[in-house]
Symmetry: C2
Subunit: 506 residues, 2 copies
């Protein structure tokens, strides 16, 4: 490496350290706003978040950044860089190019539009009035179509350009067969479940569970599965989330419903799944753009794995059932571990994605995927969404939302311009089942470990194969390296068929 390159490398590392410092600070400001901040301080808080985000955007798109990236991404230079710097340069260049291709005034208009659209969406949802939101969504779709032209596309499907933002390398060509498998098998399974005379009794899950007891039990479980409270904390917020400041400070939030055992605990495990990913990223990646999950789908594979494939499994409850009965003696009186396992895996087609069970969840996602593809390929008009939404709900889930509030207006994503994000939720499930298949082969006594509450070997495996890399490996590289194949929905469907055959005695 020449002296000049060495100097420029150091400058670049300093520069991205500065940019990632803003990310960390913004995450703290946001977390504090969502969990701690008093009501009267909210407006000023929002303003400083906007101001600092603007400063960060300026740094990320500056002439200084451009010069550094131009120099260091030169192939003859790039190959001489250490691995972390090389990947950082490529990551920043991708981001820089994406930002730079949009004319500044159009970007500004778009930012204003989505900020406004989120407010309008809230009102529209509250008033069950899609027509309020429609013109905003139309503009957002048009902006996305315009941006896709600036960003470029692969000539196969314009929607691929959007998918790539959330799941690098993902395409419609890969997703269509995945969702075809999910659709075919899930719809059949949902039907069989509906027809089964062996429905689980879920009534004990809606007894009274004092919030303090739920919180204590959730903390206990998280400590046991290995969420590190010395590198994080758990608080309350209106909507559960996980946020990372650095690998030594990854926080999760939850909310408690006093009459619903099925909500907070599994939500905590879900967020802890996200958090354990970030807590176990190689600390050398701190202050680089690589110190993050590699994609939304891989991130979701970790949360869904812990929530459903561990947390809703029979071995898991075989281990923790005594603790559960000790924590809630009256609520679970006369309930067996099999009763509990069946109850927390009950399937009920419903309107709201975020409240859906493990099985029907993917159908909710699929509806959004099909609609997004249609919007971006201009085969679906925004104006027709309520009708299309309800038709698809009827077709796949067998239920039709009585209002748009319970239908097409339920998610904030589109109002914020996030088109292409939804498929990653199902990809998370698909990846997780693929990983479990490998774990069962590679980790001796995999199921016994869970039944013994010995999660360390599993965590170690996940850290070694996935977590440590952060963004050093793409989702495709990870999946290929771990499973020896590409994305494959068969494992998920096998897992689901096995689980529900058991739960519903099919």
């Amino acid at each position: 490496m020449s002296t000049t390159v060495e100097t420029r490398t150091a400058e670049f590392r300093d520069y991205v350290k500065k940019i990632t410092s803003y990310t960390q600070a913004l995450n703290v400001l946001y977390w504090d706003k969502a969990t701690q901040a008093p009501r009267n301080g909210m407006d000023a808080r929002s303003e400083i978040i906007g101001t600092l985000a603007g400063e960060q955007f300026k740094l990320a798109t500056s002439k200084e950044m451009e010069a550094l990236l131009t120099e260091l991404s030169e192939p003859s230079v790039l190959e001489t860089l250490d691995e972390i710097t090389r990947h950082s340069v490529l990551e920043c260049k991708k981001e820089f190019d994406r930002n730079k291709k949009i004319p500044a005034d159009r970007h500004q208009e778009y930012v204003v539009l989505t900020a406004k659209a989120e407010t309008v969406w809230e009102e529209a949802r509250a008033n069950n009035d899609f027509s309020m939101f429609q013109p905003y969504l139309e503009k957002i779709v048009n902006f996305q179509l315009e941006f896709i032209e600036y960003w470029g596309h692969d000539g196969k499907n314009k929607y691929n350009t959007l998918l790539d933002m959330y799941e690098p390398g993902m395409t419609v060509d890969q997703l269509d067969p995945i969702f075809a498998t999910l659709r075919e098998k899930t719809v059949k399974l949902v039907k069989a479940i509906a027809d089964s005379p062996n429905k689980p009794d879920t009534s004990f899950l809606t007894k009274n569970f004092p919030v303090a007891d739920q919180e204590a039990f959730s903390r206990y479980i998280l400590e046991k599965i290995g969420y590190d409270f010395k590198s994080g904390r758990m608080d309350r917020s209106a909507h559960p989330f996980c946020t990372t400041f650095n690998p030594g400070d990854v926080r999760i939030t939850t909310r408690y419903a006093e009459n619903d055992f099925n909500s907070a605990l599994f939500s905590c495990i879900h967020e802890a799944g996200h958090a354990m990913y970030e807590q176990n990223i190689n600390p050398e990646l701190l202050f680089t753009p690589l110190c993050d999950g590699t994609s939304m789908g891989i991130h979701e594979s970790q949360s869904r794995y812990w929530e459903n494939m561990v947390g809703r499994s029979l071995p898991f409850w075989n281990h923790f059932f005594a603790d559960l009965q000790k924590a809630f003696p009256t609520q679970f009186e006369g309930v067996s571990v099999e009763d509990l396992h069946r109850a927390v895996n009950a399937v009920t087609p419903s309107f709201i994605r975020t409240e859906a069970d493990e099985l029907t969840y993917n159908l909710h996602v699929m509806i959004r995927y099909e609609i997004e593809k249609g919007l971006i390929n201009q085969t679906i008009q925004v104006a027709d969404l309520p009708k299309i939404w309800n038709e698809k709900m009827k077709e796949y889930l067998g239920v039709e939302p009585p209002t748009d509030t319970l239908g097409v207006l339920q998610d904030v994503h589109w109002a914020g311009g996030m088109i292409g994000y939804f498929p990653t939720y199902s990809l998370g499930n698909v990846y997780a089942a693929q990983f479990v298949h490998v774990m069962e082969n590679e980790i001796t006594g995999y199921e016994e470990l869970i039944a013994n509450g010995d999660f360390a070997p599993i965590r170690e495996w996940l850290k070694e194969k996935i977590h440590q890399y952060g963004k050093m490996k793409s989702p495709r590289e990870l999946v290929q390296a771990i499973t020896g194949e590409g994305t494959n929905a068969t494992y998920l469907m096998n897992y689901l068929e096995k689980k529900y055959t058991d739960v519903y005695k099919l």
Copy 2:
């Protein structure tokens, strides 16, 4: 106002909004570090605080700022500006000039030195080894002497330049007679108290007070005196502090000692005194450098007023004694309100300033004032500090610290380069007594209001006379406008003589 001036004014207001956004963000990052952050995240947190503080410093000393200030501080322009902008320009200019006069490399060396000195001071204090700290303090004093030459001084006393940083306009000529009054009367009073046969019984203050009960009672009292929890919150930290993000979010922290009733509650009231100042600043000053207390001394007048002149007064406890007995029935069994009032006002000369009683506190401050003056005027050598410290303790308080840990090494201020700060602690007491004297005349039934727990008229008075202005009025202007005179220690001494004559039946 010309169009150019209008444009430049808007640019300036935007620019200071950006700078103050960093202040708010840094305060959140610091607060979170001190109260919430998990251990493993601390190092990365310190680094991002350093990075963002550096970014803010760059903004505050940039060529852009210089150009704006040069243009807007031109007298013919300045007089056309609205009041808030005018004061903001002057405040920024003062800060800018102060920063710009120091050569960048010297400033950088100084920042590194004080960061290192704080760490060394901690070790020196832990090991009772002044000689470890001595070379650092010598360098810090030399830096201050060098900086004073850059900053300039009034030709009367170089120490004035440092005083002005914490208490604008304050000088040795004003402080010397104040401390002379404090010294003369306090030493006499301490002697009389020591000789009094009527010592209060304080034994019940060190019974067991469960932390949760102390916290609940402290919250109750703060709500009653008017700290607005919708614009703040109270948490725990190693050292109590108050921090402001914006007037709608002013937070305080405290710590609890299970066997000391005299600690947490009064510390909470103290911090709430600071906080109520900031909560009541005119919201139009948000995002300007004026949205802050006008000086350390005026700030301390508010905390000391609520802590001692309200919180340790007999009328206050006449009102709250029943609540106290309800909260701690066994601990205060057989204790009368007079007993309590006498106990919380007990005077005991001791080694540590932060634990000192209301009376001897000023003697601790005075010792530091005399030493600082001597260091800056080069009549005292750093090497002699342990000896001088102990002599002065003996002379004024009648006790001699057995170790430097309990003596000259107890405070962090000098390690951080804060020379000139200490006098503001006593100025706070002096101002507070002056304000009380005026309140007694201007607020009908002043003492009865406290005895009735009706603090609204007092808060309104403080808001109208002091709080609302932020930095729009200098401390001198405030004191003159409120009291019709300058700083005068007589009121404080009259108040203290009256209180202790009562408590010790002198």
